[in-house]
Symmetry: D2
Subunit: 284 residues, 4 copies
Amino acid sequence: MRSFVLTSHCVDQPGIVAAVSTTIFHMGGDITDLQQFGDTITGNYFNRIVFKGPSSLQAEAARAALAPVMERFGMSWNLRDQNHRSKVLLLVSRFDHCLVDLLYRWRSGELRMDVVGIVSNYPRETYSNLMLGDLPFWYLPITKETKAEQEKQLRGVIEETGADLVVLARYMQILSDELAADLYGRCINIHHSFLPGFKGAKPYHQAFDRGVKLIGATAHYVTGDLDEGPIIEQDVERVTHLDTPEDLVRKGRDIERRVLARAVRYHLDGRVLLNGNKTVVFPE
Amino acid sequence: MRSFVLTSHCVDQPGIVAAVSTTIFHMGGDITDLQQFGDTITGNYFNRIVFKGPSSLQAEAARAALAPVMERFGMSWNLRDQNHRSKVLLLVSRFDHCLVDLLYRWRSGELRMDVVGIVSNYPRETYSNLMLGDLPFWYLPITKETKAEQEKQLRGVIEETGADLVVLARYMQILSDELAADLYGRCINIHHSFLPGFKGAKPYHQAFDRGVKLIGATAHYVTGDLDEGPIIEQDVERVTHLDTPEDLVRKGRDIERRVLARAVRYHLDGRVLLNGNKTVVFPE
Amino acid sequence: MRSFVLTSHCVDQPGIVAAVSTTIFHMGGDITDLQQFGDTITGNYFNRIVFKGPSSLQAEAARAALAPVMERFGMSWNLRDQNHRSKVLLLVSRFDHCLVDLLYRWRSGELRMDVVGIVSNYPRETYSNLMLGDLPFWYLPITKETKAEQEKQLRGVIEETGADLVVLARYMQILSDELAADLYGRCINIHHSFLPGFKGAKPYHQAFDRGVKLIGATAHYVTGDLDEGPIIEQDVERVTHLDTPEDLVRKGRDIERRVLARAVRYHLDGRVLLNGNKTVVFPE
Amino acid sequence: MRSFVLTSHCVDQPGIVAAVSTTIFHMGGDITDLQQFGDTITGNYFNRIVFKGPSSLQAEAARAALAPVMERFGMSWNLRDQNHRSKVLLLVSRFDHCLVDLLYRWRSGELRMDVVGIVSNYPRETYSNLMLGDLPFWYLPITKETKAEQEKQLRGVIEETGADLVVLARYMQILSDELAADLYGRCINIHHSFLPGFKGAKPYHQAFDRGVKLIGATAHYVTGDLDEGPIIEQDVERVTHLDTPEDLVRKGRDIERRVLARAVRYHLDGRVLLNGNKTVVFPE
């Protein structure tokens, strides 16, 4: 037996589940998970279906069988083998805690991905305490003057590696509107505040100055509009008057890494669907 | 338009979603929510489907249309109007915080229920600070000697009121095995510990003695086996060495009332299905 | 034995604890709790000391004994009997969940306060489901035209009742700058968002539109600068794409009432000290 | 200026703070943090004081100055330079997530410790994905027959390295009563359940079978009585019916590593004092 993950969305209308599930049944499939969401405000419909099929069933054949019903409902859809591993490119800067965390989860099998490389504006030696092994590494320094050129190189790396997903693991650089647009829905950033609070630079210092009692982190898809992209996951932790800005930074590292790891995992498992400027995240 | 909630469970097998959703489609229904769970260990299948139908569609007709497909899969199932309000009997003792909380949520429309009455082993005056209004109230005191007789009276109240659900809102009395068995799946208790830790009496004092750093509460269906029934909901709160047993009791009141309220709400909305000694709780 | 709570703050300097604790020892006192905080950024020092004294020790005598040392360090300070109950005035509007919660906690002895009355811009009948008993109630309706006049009446109530603390328990009205200034440090508001996110009106709808994954509430001291006062307590709860704005409002009620209750409790117990636009909250 | 951390405990009695703080003042010290706890049930008193002294002040001199007052109150006490780094030995088995986490936090400067080595019952190659660098590593395999002999070797390593603290970072082996007793108060274990629930083997599978809605982890000092030692820190995470035992194991890894890291950090900072079978943990 092999399993497939089918995600789709369209304008909500009666009969979708009946049609899709009947099609799956007829191809010998057995639905093992089905989640759906009808947004009563926008009138959009979203679902995620996992089904097992006979070992003879290939993804291509499943797609062919589903195509007519998908067309009938005007669906945007995606079907893939559940074992499919996305190609992921990690972008990082001086702070390496998210990088370390993602690499560990990748190696321990928590994340269904192949890391195709690391891009940093710091040289490889910066990470000499990490076991990068033979992971491709691109050192792409950046200055105001070279920003456009550097991004061109970055585009080259994304194309060359065939990255399905680009993760800004505390990359600290702002992508151009064009690149953000081109990567829409496949580029995840971790912002070190509980958005929409404390956008922009030095959020922990902003949080300290405001005297909040909880700090947080936010993983979101990147858009041209800084810190305004669709939110995938957030979490917080309690702080007190005793915490200095440095304590917030330290506590924040823990929040950031778990929030980013969850968002990447949800994305890789096909649980995140875009709904305008928001996300539908089907729980695991 | 009117909405129906269909819950069902059976042995897992291919084609269930296709058959059920097609039947709903043919009766003019539109599925607005569908959640399912296939327990790969026990081989059991559970689902909860909410669908809208034309205003002419009556629950009886919907049931008749669904019966054949339900029979085919050997389903245990239930269909009801989403606006159906369950009849709920509240059992309480000296501590009234859960009672107060449930009454408030009921009056503010959070809970889809009709409170058919209150049973207590303390007299009505005990609750003179609460606005019981004209809610039926049974004062059923209990002693070792009168326990059997009192329970007989309690059974009478349950029958007389036609209660669908009995909530032990800190009732502090143990039901007999027979009554527990007869109410199985429709009697919810709140235990003031994070089960399976600290079963039995004075759990906060046990927690204090053990020096735990979090205390909790557990809402579960009542079974003859004390504090061992299927868990519906749990939550915890942080405590420190500064907390006396009295502080734990105070903090615990907050946990108890929100855990019990959630469990009752999930039950009333048909989100809780029994799976052996465990529960399936479809998220809202 | 009787207990006293001493809170004080001044410019940080060596020898404070030694001098104060020695003074307390000499008056026959025994320190049962001592917490302090030196803000290394502003150079301010804060402490809260609880001490038991012989039953013959009166607050006046304790104050007289402490005055010289307090003067020496240039302290702003307050000493009171631990059993002192503050006079609290509750301001409320149409939504009564925070009012209900505070009244329940007051009656069950969780809050060291005397409720001296309720002010509402809705008539008393609005709360007919609550057991207000013989609590003084002022119906002070408000319109754009009568705002100044209404506030004058409100001031009259505050003076007449001798309220030590004014709690805006979802009062939904903005105090004038003058009143906010006059009540500075003794007027607590609950804002139904995780500040600084979603200031202003309809924060749950703002949160829904932004697609956040956690919603929150904030209790803060009122200042003329709306939603910018020193934060006392915050908390959050998880939400998903399934939650409508109405669900956020419902879930928010639970967060609001527990955040406000904690803030009021901390204030009543003398745990909250103002530190510029922030608070020091000594944990219980 | 240099800072010192003084921790002490004795039978509670009046005048402790006055005497100790006055002594510190007289040696030119300035108290920057002071926390205390009087256990009203056992009558024990605990405190932790951080004070700055002139750069000329040595720990030895500070100890000499404090000794008389400490003796007067019958104190057990400890004074050390705040920059003191404890020697820590990490014991690990097949699962390396806690090891990875502690090493990362150590290297990033979060933990005031020197890792003096790693002991494992698996060979060094097991951890080839980790950057162990030139950390001393002892491969001490263990079988029923060699248990006593292996523990003797382990004792040798502890002595040789001069380890102040031994961390069982998922070591999965039970220390003998003798070794547990000898290491009392300086050996921390992480148990992968929310104690006292699910003691013993395979706690995640026990949790799955019981159908709990939250799983947790517990860091505690090791005693001869398995899983019964004084608890330092606990935390939990929400799980649902969808989670398989493998999911619980995965989610649990995150809880374990953050609970253990916090416990180790609190211990290293002198925040944890033993109070019978419980702990006093002064918050940071």
